[in-house]
Structures are given as C-alpha cells and as structure tokens.
Symmetry: C2
Subunit: 522 residues, 2 copies
C-alpha cells in the first residue's frame, strides 16, 4: 500500500509495512540472490557472493591467526557413521538428503532413471562431525598428535520445508571448525576462543553487536555438551543466531574412536569442539542494516567501497568527465584501508544518472561520488554516504542524506576516514536500536505483554530482547515457546565487571541465579 505522506523509497513494501516481504525485496533490488527451482536451494548472485567472499577472507585470516589450517573432507557420509552418535542422528534425521544410486540409465519409456543402487546409502553432509571424526580417529595416536586444529569451507545440506533466502536454505555455504584436544580445559578454551572470534568479526566487520552466551539444553547442537552462540537483534526486533561454537566433550570421540595415549601412558578419548558460521550471516547483515531504499553495507564487508558515477549529458564533455573519473579512481585505488586497497567502481554505462544512482543505493555501496562537466571547472565532486549521514559533519541524522560538494583532492584525503565513520555509525546505530528494545522484565504479565502484538490483525513490529529470570526447567521454556513463540536465545556469560544478578523465575517465581535472554527468532 503506497503511503503518499512518506518520502519516496526504493523498496516496497517498507520495513514497517511487511518486514519479511521487505527482506525479500531488498535481496531482489540488490541483485544478491534468488530462489532456484530446486526446492529450498538458492542461487547466490555475484553481488551477494562478493559479500560472502569478503566474509570468508576476513574469517579465514582470523582462523589462521588462531592456529587453524584448512582441509577438506567428503561430501558424503555413510549412513552407518551418522548412526554412531544417537542424539546426533536423531537431531538431523528429518533433514537428510540421501544418495541411493550412482548411475542413470534409460528405462523402457526412454527416460533416464536412477540405477545401480548403493549397498549402503550415503547422506549428503548436514554437518561433518562424524565423517571428520573417522579421519581423526586414524590421525590421533598419542598426545603428541594433539591438538588438531582444522577448519573446512564447504556446502552442507539440511532439507528445509520453509526456506528463506540466506537465512534458511536446503543447501548453504559455511565453514566448520573441528578440533581435538588433550584436555577438557583446552577444548573448553577453544570453544570460547572461537566464539570470541565470531563476536569480534560480527562487531568489527559486520557492524553487528551480539550477545554471547550459552544455549539452554533444549537448544543445544545434537550431541554437544555445551553450545555457545552469538545472537543479534535485527530490525524487526527478532533474534538471529549468527554463529555457534560447540564443546562436544568426549561424545563424538567415543563414537568415532578418537583415542590417544596420554602423557602417563594411558588410553583416553580426545576432547573435541566444532564451530561454524554460514551464509546466514549475509541474511543477518541485510536485516540488520538495510533500509527502505535497500541494502546498506558496512564498508569493511562491501565488495565495492566507492562507486563513481560520471554524469555525461553532452557528447563534447564526455571524454573529459570520464578521464577525470578514471583519475579519481586511480587515486582512490592507490589507498590502503585496513590492509587492502580500496575497491572503486566507475559506472560508465549509458543509462540515466538517476537510474544508475538508485541501483547503487539499492546495492548498499558505502560512498557514491558524482562527477559531471561543471565539476571539471570547480574541481569538486559530489559525495553521498549510504548510511544517510551528511558527509561534512555527521551531526544531523534526522535529515535525509545530503550530497556534499568537496574538492576532489579533499575527498581522496578523507575517503578512508569517511569509510571508518560509516562503519562506526552503522555499529552505533545497531547497538542503540538493540539497547532501546532490550528490557529487563520481572513479571509474567509484562513478559507476555512485551511479546504480544498490540493488534494481532496487523502484525506490526513489537517486542525485542527480554532479560528475565528462569528456573532452569525445560517445562518453562516449552510453555513460553507454545504461548509466545519465544525461546531462550542464550544464557549470557558472566559479566566480568559484576556478579550475575539473582532473582525469581518470571513464570514460577522459583529462585534464579541470573537473567537469561529471551526473544522470538529466525
């Protein structure tokens, strides 16, 4: 429904009108991804994939800096491997794509049909604990072989009945770290360390503030002793679990036979961990920062930092404008920002300036620079920030984005600072939003009211994160989940500054040692 009293926006519907549909439209408008005809599988288009590549590059460097190396394990898992860990196979059984044949042949009707059935069916990996465990069991003999610190970049498949681009797809791309340690303490430290890597990455690259903590038992990874997670609040105030790190104890080493000789000559099972983030992060990024004009990219993850839009209304000045645009691009590309050269694109297509400008707005490029014939005389360029703040001061966020006219040389000098300012603004904005919609709640009434839409006929945005006391029981979790579709997102880690605040369960009034984080979630 058009609302003529609001300023024009590129995305219809707006966030406030229909958040889920707005999300789909942002992805379409930014040309990031689309559904394929293969049920639940998406096609990640170059702009979306470029964002994932930048995420990979940054995370990969962080994994290597913490001593991990990459390797690659088979896509297929023999069904018998999956069955070795009972909780694990039960957790994934409903989502497993199963290969049963290894050939096609023509049938009597001249159609290709599956042939050559396999002796043992193969599961397309939904996660690789069991198949990697089979290798580790061979590699680990002695404490001298430990720790094993390996990561894998891979595709995985979990059959999805209600797919949503990036957030839930049958096939998705991810990384999965799998480590084995000599002691429980080391494995627990690794689990925590990798969660901190994720939280740092989310903050510094994605401009996404996250809560870190532990999952309740009912939300744990199937087979894990402990699941740690990072949880972000997106703009409809729901939570997204953006990354998990699991302490697996000796469960998987026992089922896979990862055993080693200890320093005092005994046989012990290894202590293992696994941890992963996926293309779901791209969806998180969109829901976190995009606006009613489309995607808004944190500069540190943007495939293009700056787009230059040459304005060439007249053939006689076209060459001079393009020359100036190329010169500006060369100056900017010579700059290094956070260790890599600035990515600058010149859009020379013969399209209307407005069409081109909107396209880059919708793709979320952090800085747009227009450069036309009149600018050649003045030496100025027109610079616009995608995050809506004016370029000069940054003090008037209420006003719509304004172009700043800067001498070209000044812009080149300020480009890196501007990108830092955008990065910081996006984080600050996200943090302020989250904190504004996070509430400590102490009564059942307030809790239910917080998570109930005012007008159920129009499912407007409501709720947020509730920090409330819990008696630790699964029954309370189930009651709240059934009543409100709200779950415990995490039991936050102890704040090192202060002891956790004790209180009474918001439902049962039983004693509780700390508040836990509740929300609706994706």
């Amino acid at each position: 429904m058009a609302q003529p009293d609001l300023p024009k926006s590129a995305i219809s519907p707006r966030r406030a009108e229909d958040f889920p549909e707005w999300y789909q439209q942002v992805i379409r408008a930014g040309d990031m991804a689309e559904s394929s005809e293969v049920r639940g599988c998406m096609v990640i288009k170059p702009w979306g994939y470029g964002i994932w590549e930048n995420m990979q590059r940054a995370l990969d460097a962080m994994f290597k800096a913490t001593g991990h190396k990459n390797a690659y394990f088979p896509l297929f898992i023999p069904l018998s491997y999956m069955q070795k860990e009972a909780e694990h196979v039960a957790g994934f059984a409903k989502e497993c794509a199963v290969v049963t044949h290894h050939r096609l042949e023509l049938n009597a009707d001249g159609k290709m049909v599956p042939a050559s059935p396999l002796g043992e069916p193969l599961v397309v990996r939904p996660t690789s604990e069991t198949i990697i465990g089979a290798s580790y069991a061979k590699w680990v003999q002695s404490y001298r072989d430990l720790p094993i610190l390996i990561n894998q970049w891979a595709n995985v498949v979990r059959w999805e009945m209600r797919p949503r681009l990036f957030l839930r797809t049958t096939e998705f791309l991810w990384q999965e770290g799998h480590t084995v340690h000599e002691t429980e303490a080391e494995a627990r430290a690794e689990t925590k360390q990798m969660l901190e890597v994720y939280a740092t990455f989310a903050r510094d690259y994605l401009a996404v503030p996250v809560y870190t903590g532990e999952k309740s038992e009912s939300e744990r990874f199937p087979g894990a002793v402990q699941t740690l997670c990072i949880e972000a609040m997106v703009q409809d105030r729901k939570a997204i679990q953006a990354g998990t790190s699991h302490f697996l104890g000796q469960n998987f080493s026992r089922s896979s036979g990862i055993q080693f000789q200890t320093r005092d000559g005994k046989q012990e099972f290894g202590w293992t961990t696994s941890w992963g983030v996926s293309t779901r992060l791209v969806g998180t990024l969109i829901m976190m920062h995009a606006d009613d004009d489309g995607l808004v990219l944190p500069p540190r993850i943007a495939p293009t930092h700056i787009v230059i839009l040459p304005v060439t209304p007249k053939p006689e000045t076209r060459d001079a404008v393009l020359t100036a645009a190329n010169k500006l691009a060369a100056q900017l590309r010579a700059l290094t920002w956070h260790g890599t050269p600035l990515e600058v694109h010149i859009d020379q297509r013969d399209l209307g300036g407005g069409v081109k400008n909107w396209e880059w707005i919708k793709k979320g490029v952090p800085l747009r620079v227009e450069l036309g014939p009149r600018d050649l005389e003045s030496g100025n360029v027109a610079v616009t920030r995608r995050d809506g703040l004016p370029v000069a001061g940054g003090a008037d966020p209420g006003k719509p984005a304004t172009k700043a006219f800067l001498p070209s040389a000044v812009f080149v000098r300020q480009a890196a600072e501007l990108l830092d300012a955008i990065q910081q603004n996006l984080f600050a904005r996200a943090l302020a939003f989250r904190d504004a919609h996070t509430r400590a709640i102490d009564t059942k009434e307030e809790f239910y009211e917080f998570f109930t839409p005012r007008n159920p006929a129009k499912p407007e945005i409501h709720g947020g994160f509730a920090l409330a006391h819990w008696n630790g029981s699964r029954a309370v979790e189930e009651q709240i989940k059934n009543d409100l579709k709200v779950t415990i997102r995490c039991i936050p880690f102890d704040d090192p500054e202060s002891a956790p605040e004790s209180g009474q369960c918001v439902i049962t009034s039983e004693p509780s040692a700390r508040r836990v984080l509740w929300a609706k979630s994706y």
Copy 2:
C-alpha cells in the same frame, strides 16, 4: 626392492621402480591427502589443501582480471534438467550420484533407513551447465544483459570406479566458468582466452609447460562444439589433461532457453562457454616435479617458502638459537615476493634434526635453513634448495644437493632471487624433459615401437609425446587406442611463426594438414 647401489631415498618405491605406487607414497610422505572410507572420495589434508588454496588464490585473481565474478549455484540438479541436452546426459549418466530421499526414519529393526522419496530425483552436479543455464535463461533478455561472465568454486561428483588421489576421485573440487555472449566470435575468443589463462597459470605458478590445442571430436566434452585443453607430460611420460575450455555454441542455450533480443530486434540464442580446472592440478604438480625424496614444490604455489630448522643440541644455547631463528624469520617475513609476504615456518619441535629435515624434504618446501649454536658465532646459516641445485652457483645439477653456508644477512638479501631461481629451474627441467621425450614420428612401425614397453613383464617407463599425422578419422583413433592405449591429446594450435606442416597419416598414409599430439594419458 631395495637397490643398495643407489643413494638413499625417502620414497619407496622409486619413480623408476613403480611410478603409480611412488605417486601414492609421495602423497603419503608429504601428508597431503588420503583415501576415505567413502568409495572414491578423498580427504585433502592441510598440506595438500594449502597448495590448492594457493592455486585458487592465483587463478581467482586471473579470472577477476579478465572481468569474471564469482557466484554460487545449487549442488543438486533436477534429473529433467540433465536430460534437456541429450549428448550431455548420455556423457555423464554412468557417473551420477542420485538423491532419491530427503529424510531418515527408524525402521522396525531400529535402523535408520531413507524415507520421504522425492517426486523427481536430484543428481549431485557432475558439472553445472544445465543448472546454471536455467538461471541464465531468466537473467538474459536483451543483448544489453550480455556478456555474462561468471565463475563458481565448487565440489562436483562423478562416480569413479578406479579412483586415484587427486587425479580421479568421485568428489573433487574445482572451478567452473560459465559465460554467455552475444556473438559466436566473442564466445570463441572467451574460450581461447581462458585456455590461455590456464596455460599461463600452469607455466608461471606450477612450473608446468603445456601443449595447448583442441580435442578431437571423440574426446570432446559431452555437448560441446569445441573443447580446448592444456596437456602436460609428467615423469612417466604420460599426458595429463590439466584444464579444459569449451565452446558450447548454442547447444546449451537452446536446451536451457537462454534467448535474447538482438540489436536489430530479433530473438537469438546466446553463445555459451564453460571452462574448468580442478584438484587434479595438485596431482599433476606431484607427478611433474616430485622426486625419489618426495614432493618438490614450485615456490609460487608452496604453502611455506622457507622452513627454518633450529638445531638445539644443548639446553644452554637453546634460547639463543631460537631467538636468532625468530629474528631471521621476522626479516624474511618482511619481504614481499610476487606481491605477497614470504611464508616462513620455524620448526621448533623437540625431534631429532634429521627427522625434521626429512619431513620438510618430503613436503617439498623450496628452501630449508639450518641454524645452530655454532652459527650464532659465525653469523652464517646453512641453506639447502629442495630442487637439488647448489645455492651458490647453480651450475652443477649432477651433484646431490649441497648445503651452502651464507651470512644470514646475505641469505635474507638473496631469498627472493633464490626462490625465483628454483621456480625457473623447475620449469626448465620439466620443459627439457618433455622435449627430450617428444618425437615427430612418420611411420606406423616407429609409432608402435615408441609406445610399446621393451619388456612387457617389467612395465618400465617408455614412450612420451608423439607428433604424428592423422587422417582426421575416428576409426584411426580407435585402432590406436585399442592397440596401444594411446589417444590424441590435442590438435595443437597453429604456430603463429609458421604454417602447420602437412604430411601423411601415420596409419593410413592419407593426406594430413598438420601433426597432432598422441600419448598415453591419465
């Protein structure tokens, strides 16, 4: 069988004794990969994967420099898509892994079994022309949408009855470029350009000289109009097809419906190409450069350029030696070589010096540097090149590798040059070997003699590349394949320097316009 008159070697058997088994043992000794229990699938261990990562990084930059972007398409192909191109599905039918169920459930015996059969089976991609074509058909409307220049890094599955690590595995990793063009000429130019990218990459990074040319019809990619390839000769004188680039004409655009409005308003089918290289390149690299002591890595693809081996026989000098090793490493890591920092590893493990030294020999690290207590006084380090040439001059390839004692500062100054020298030596050696075993052959007798082992009971290394005339018929190809297991590896491109030499078919004496390249192959 040990041969006591030969110098000690780390790999048993030697190349000359049993080349296929030597290959397996080099992979094992270098800790690069191993077979998994999933039939035909391998585990790529960190050292092997590190080599693949370096290949990916270099190739990806070359693809981007030629205007390509990365994207990602579904792993699963509906069976009906595969069937749209008749030659294509026939070419891959025998190798297709087929997903038929999307759930597991407990049967009456308490075992997990496949459940929820799919309405249409899904093929695990053996290559992605058909699934990518389905997307391109939606994306392409007008000539303005062309060209589409996209690459995908992915895993693919082709059921393999006789797997061999890296060279032939059921699942392998690769990149596949898929492009659509407005004209036949553009698509043919793209096909050629990407083959040249592969040839350049093979030469400059892998130190692998290749023949470039076109496949005969019988060796073409199923569904292609033209298949171009790069072919390398490895140390048993067999050929390895190391990369292919296909001009697909309008075959796949017709079957997928990739149609566009031309500049003059007509509807035409797009002209498509596809091109790929895979983890097979790692196998090529091994067979090309490794020796009887294990892997020999071209520096430009080595995960570690230089390994420093601190020699710490006495506790009282250990700290000083390690300090010197760390200082040397820091100086070397500050150097940039071909655009990236030198990768330097210090092996501080408490193992015997000999054990450690052999380990890095077997892993093929280009330069090894020993540094012990006596070197602290002299300021020297002991440097050894993995390619067997002495460090100082490089003029005596007949002698075994000799350590050079250099002042540490001199070594730091020369390190980049030494790496270049190793890179060049490996290429020169490979080229000389190939040329020594390439022969222009004009008679059937000589051709058969060239490709027949002297003593069939002991399948010693024989043959090589034969450049011989051919009448262009499939019958001759089949006769030679049946008799000798020899195939046409490629019809070499016209040498720009001279017209192709005409002659008479080596089998039928019919006229022939040019010599073609024959060999046994992997």
